[in-house]
Symmetry: D4
Subunit: 248 residues, 8 copies
């Protein structure tokens, strides 16, 4: 790690004791039920994101408060409406994205202009929550996002009419359930990086998203990168990294 190397050099120069060096590496704050890694923003270019699924509304509100105290943005995923109500009562300035199930409050101060362009493509309306999670998180991290919804392969004219828009993006995220065929079609239409998000939409032999996942991993369009089932957040992280790689 370059952080480690820098510390090592400081130790070598006598500027830092070995004990202090160890302490420096720990920027985490323990809230009892969770640990916030307040240094992540420096290490990974974006602040800690709170995963709301296993936490109560009160716990999320506390975490949002701690992030505010640290002067950091708050971004919480997988929040159901009841928990969101609790958090918004405590933090009226946080924004609630109901379809994405995301809470977001930017870091204080002027926001940088969004860069690049990420296309988020969604096969069916049932896949929308996953696609929106991806889109809202990507926007929260300063990317410009275009949405293309309900353009599944059963009606090809829908995706064909969007090709120019898709080609204008630096990265295309394709969200689909059932047989997960849309990334293969998109991958053959554009030369930009394509990321695929299988969703658990479907029933029977969809096996909770397994059919879509296997379909995407075996895409006949080479060069499709796949994330976990329903993982709109993970796709946003990777798309944002790619977009920023290419941003002026």
């Amino acid at each position: 790690m370059s952080d480690l190397r820098a510390l090592l050099d400081a130790v070598a120069r006598g500027d830092l004791s070995p004990a202090d060096a160890a302490e420096r590496l720990d920027g985490r704050q323990d809230l009892g039920f969770a640990t916030l890694d307040l240094q992540r923003a420096r290490r990974q270019d974006h602040p800690e994101v709170v995963y709301g699924a296993g936490k109560s509304g009160d716990q999320i509100a506390q975490l949002v408060g701690a992030l505010a105290d640290a002067g950091q943005a708050a971004l919480v995923t997988r929040v159901d409406p009841a928990k969101a109500d609790v958090v918004r009562a405590a933090h009226p300035d946080i924004r609630w994205h109901p379809i994405a199930r995301v809470l977001h409050r930017p870091a204080p101060g002027p926001q940088p202009a969004p860069v690049g362009r990420i296309a988020v493509v969604c096969a069916g309306t049932s896949d929308l929550p996953v696609a929106e999670e991806c889109a809202v998180v990507a926007e929260a991290w300063g990317n410009r996002v275009d949405r293309h919804v309900d353009v599944g392969v059963a009606g090809l004219h829908r995706i064909l009419s969007r090709v120019d828009a898709l080609r204008a993006a630096r990265v295309v995220v394709v969200v689909a359930g059932m047989e997960g065929a849309l990334p293969s079609v998109v991958g053959g239409l554009v030369a930009t990086p394509v990321l695929a998000v299988p969703t658990s939409v479907g029933y029977g032999a969809a096996f909770g998203g397994l059919a879509a996942l296997l379909g995407m991993l075996n895409s006949c369009s080479a060069g499709v990168g796949v994330v976990n089932i329903d993982n709109g957040f993970g796709a946003a992280v990777l798309a944002s990294r790619i977009n920023r790689t290419g941003a002026p």
Copy 2:
């Protein structure tokens, strides 16, 4: 069974003894290593088909001879080239379809004109053996067959340029491996019955055709019927039944 009912009526009229009735139901010929059901042509509209996979070339040649003696057509699937050589040495009039791995000799006498029109669509050249097995068997049973090869979804213009031809068929069979997306695309383009054949083409998470099979079962284009992995023969049987249902 109406055969059973007819026998029952004959027994009731005293035209047939119960013992003879039982004997009549059995038209099979035992060759030691296999049993030919020579009555199938009458019961199921097409003669017994020999599955060549577990049999030696000599055994297949014997079966072909028995079918000739019974005045029936010979159709043998899953024949590898070495076995085919053995059979063709014994029966020079039988035709060898090397890609389909099928041996075929029509029943003696004039052949009826082919009816209807079955389209066999094949995603990639690696899927060809399965598609050809389907096409050759369907032709052997008197169907007119059109082939569309190498039209996978990674290059959409390929399938789009065939839409009119597909719409002219009474039934479309789509053969694809890897993620098995082609039936979903075809199913959205035509209003005719679509049958899907997953193939074991692929590697890694294709799991021997499982990915394609699941993809086809979960097709977002409603009304796609699926057969077993690599089962070009089964698709031919069903397509032929459908085609003949609608044939003038």
Copy 3:
């Protein structure tokens, strides 16, 4: 696509601008929570069907209203009784099929006489909801449907007594859970196309319909087409396409 080709010719003749051509291809109406494809009737021979599983009663009622405004039939599947009550309160003329969990209101005007004959065969009474979904949808699309219920293979006389009726159909749909053996038996008794619907009926090593699905895919009766687990709707679509192919 022939639609596309027609548009292309119109553009070539100067009868249509490229921009208008693009717009024409889009007949969808956005209701906020869903998008109705009002052109599907023209493209696919039958109108858009609403999948009720992920929608509220109010949303379904709205969609039914939009279809009425467009002069189209309304067909909604996977509707539970509570949602059905909401929809029927808003649309008293819609018909509720409680076992099939389907709501249906035909398009206005005189109904065409039903054509062909589809046999829907059901192994056990627990498989009835899936079989009825298939039967009700097929009837809604103008097919004549015969039902054969509780004729599983554990009591063979039940299916044997129906053979003549099955042979009179243009296509036979067989619905079964547990080991899914009934399609193999039916496939050996008739020469018409056989479609198989595995259901999630069973427990333990039935694995939610997987055992029945695998049983049907591996049927020793060649030429059985299989759809997804519990997918009575998909079977109806394919059976209707086959039946109409052969209809006078």
Copy 4:
């Protein structure tokens, strides 16, 4: 164990020292590459059976010799023809069952008359090796065995014509691959115990016998007992135990 209890009583009476008691329990003979349990005949009613799959022809011949020295019958399963030749050269009096892949030489002395009646039913000719393994082992242990071959459900008249014979047996063993539907049909026709043996016959989604195994475990005919895939030997053991329970 009653053997243990008998030894315990002998120890209590002082008729046996604890050390001797321990030694008595061990009747095994170590041949270096394998251990023969020569006491099994006394404990389990039938002698040790040699599983030939992982052993060389020479090793099998040695084991057969050791059993001869102990005055016991020799029964070897899963023997391929090359190994069989080696063994038969060394032991010309042993009998080779090529389809069952079994070697058998009865214990010296007069053979008891066979008892009871076990029906072994086989769906297709490809399932024959497994069915024959079952039949030959059952006969080797003194059971009377009736064979019914090539009576799969795709041609129901075949099994229907055997019903009286099946009902005359004390236990029916049904061997089938592919979808494994035959035990369900047989189980509905007889009131005797039914054992089912799935075979690895099939391809694609048969998954090496998994489809047949699941089909049999989920049989809609209650009371079917299932053994491992291709385990004709295991079915013979259980059938023999059942048959002898009921034997006069």
Copy 5:
């Protein structure tokens, strides 16, 4: 079928018309939500058993009434306590077995003395409901049943102390969850037929009973017959058939 053969002979003699013969084969009574097969007692030695899982208390009460009207015994499995209360209110003479979740009322008239002896062995107390379902059903059909509970392999002395009792039975049913090792141990201790019932007891990699099922199918003690996960009823049917085969 011998019934069929008898009918055939009657038809041949002119004692029965073909139409009446067909009617005779159908002894089922349609209750709207279910169909009772009142002829099963004659065909299969035991009356129809009602599977309570998918039915309401009222529906079960109706079925119990219909069985009473037909002079038949009532046996209902998979009944939860709330449904049982409803049925018992309507039929105070029916007996409720709470652990087995079974309702039972014998056929009217004197009961035959129980025959044979079935041992039901249960690995842990969590497996008791499945073991009791097996035991209660077996008793309802006139078998004498001995229970051996909480004798899992983690404390071997428990099963060792029961060996004499197990050897006295005509058939031993072993019920176990988790790794399902108990049938292997029992199978090595007795020479009687052993049936194994995997249960869904366990968590994590038990996968709902799959681990126990696989363990039992691969038992190193040859000749163990396996039924579906949690299928105490199926084991009772097979055990009863075996026990009666051997009964004097």
Copy 6:
């Protein structure tokens, strides 16, 4: 498609007949056993790549010749040494990469300077063939590639000493078999896009790469994109697209 749109505009202007427009879309050359898509270079930024696994050495040599005739680069993956010898005999100027199993001959003319920087990280020496396939393909398409071999997590100092190098890349590809843990560790050390390639290296419960695949899809380091098992080629395609997005 913008190609389609361009053609459409040409048709609208009368510059192109509809028939010619259709013909233009097809740039494929049929060689009998395979079809070369010579237009792909224009559509997807890189020429057609030949998948060598299912082709003979002679067939590959023919394809390489056809690409030469078209003035295009030749890149063939999954070539075993014997096939490579055949191809090199016919085309002495093609380069053979034995570990990667890749044949490559650049397009004629001066090669552009490589751009960007892709890091290919390989957990163990057994994973090398997959990693080299990725590296060689990426280099063939004009990317600068750095290799880091044998840096698995069982000896953490190995990957820690490479962190600065990894951070200097535009995209990091991590190739690992067994438990597939390395992408999680790398993902936590860099802020660049990370792509993960599971390999089939391992045995037993590795299940042919499934364990590594699942490990990578569930990485606790958010934003890792995964490709199919052993799919070094697919990772190269996606990495190249990402690298070029960000290239000056």
Copy 7:
């Protein structure tokens, strides 16, 4: 068993009758709904542990009472808060560990000083309940336990800063969900025995802990022992046995 051998010797000496010997082996107390094995402490070094998952609060309270009457410690796992309230009302002296979901009351009398040192390492805060179950049980059995929480591989500095502490333990238990990579990293850093506990933390392709389980079984760090998913208790048992093996 040495217990058995001791009894055998006593029987040989006439000090014990065979009947008494049998009775001695049974120290279990039947409470109707469960059987307590009060001899386990003597046989296995630790008393019977109550698995709370399938029992009511009242039943647990009864079992705790029976253990008190026998002068034994009470340890109950998988207790939810509502049940814990019931038990604590009846036994105010029992201690409730809410995160571990464990109830514990030591055996009466002075407690022995804890021995050895077990390190329990936990990847994420969501894995805490499983890690605490392990830690609390290990402490209850007299081991000294050190906890290391939230040290997953996505932030390597966290585990690196604990290496000295881990090396000081006699055994290290690593608890992790998702991809389960932490045991591989720890296994490369220490030379002490490492036990791995996969948890069901994760979603989608985590498949309820399967991904973590497979990851740990395929660890590239040799010598990691794995227990069932979420089985903190099992890890505590094995760790305690290892720790005590090495304790002075």
Copy 8:
């Protein structure tokens, strides 16, 4: 890492430059086709072990030579006889263990006396290669090993007669295929740590060792640690670590 910390302190004292510190951490020797980690002996208490499966006999011979040059022991696993012949020709002093498929040559100099006692228990003779791999590796690392072969649960007296010996060991390794029941039985008989090694011995539903693996993970005897299928080496590593923890 304490190595890292020691280096860090040396750097702080000025005794070591940061550059040298980095170099020190790398003790690996690159042989082209493989990389030897010659520092592992210092880090992990035992030298690098060569995995022979994917290497040629010549390559193994080279690695053995390099280890000799470094004055280290040579231990090679998964060596087939043909490769072993090649290595032994080059290094006549290396010892070949044919059943274990292991080559071993101790480090030069006097060998330390073996410590502790590891019991290796093997269910059947087919499991011997895995058990011997475990035993030979454990002995190579200085542990005293006792073997108990062919003591599977189908004949319980075999394992019961070994209980005293098992209790005398510090750790018991149990190797079993098929249903993998033996660890559950052993775990209930001893209070020492038990490690379980599933083997791929079996067929059909054994699924290459999966049945044994699941059986061992779900053992009703708490505290059994499991390694990968056929991983005798991994069990030896963990057993050796445990044994040495407790060694005087």
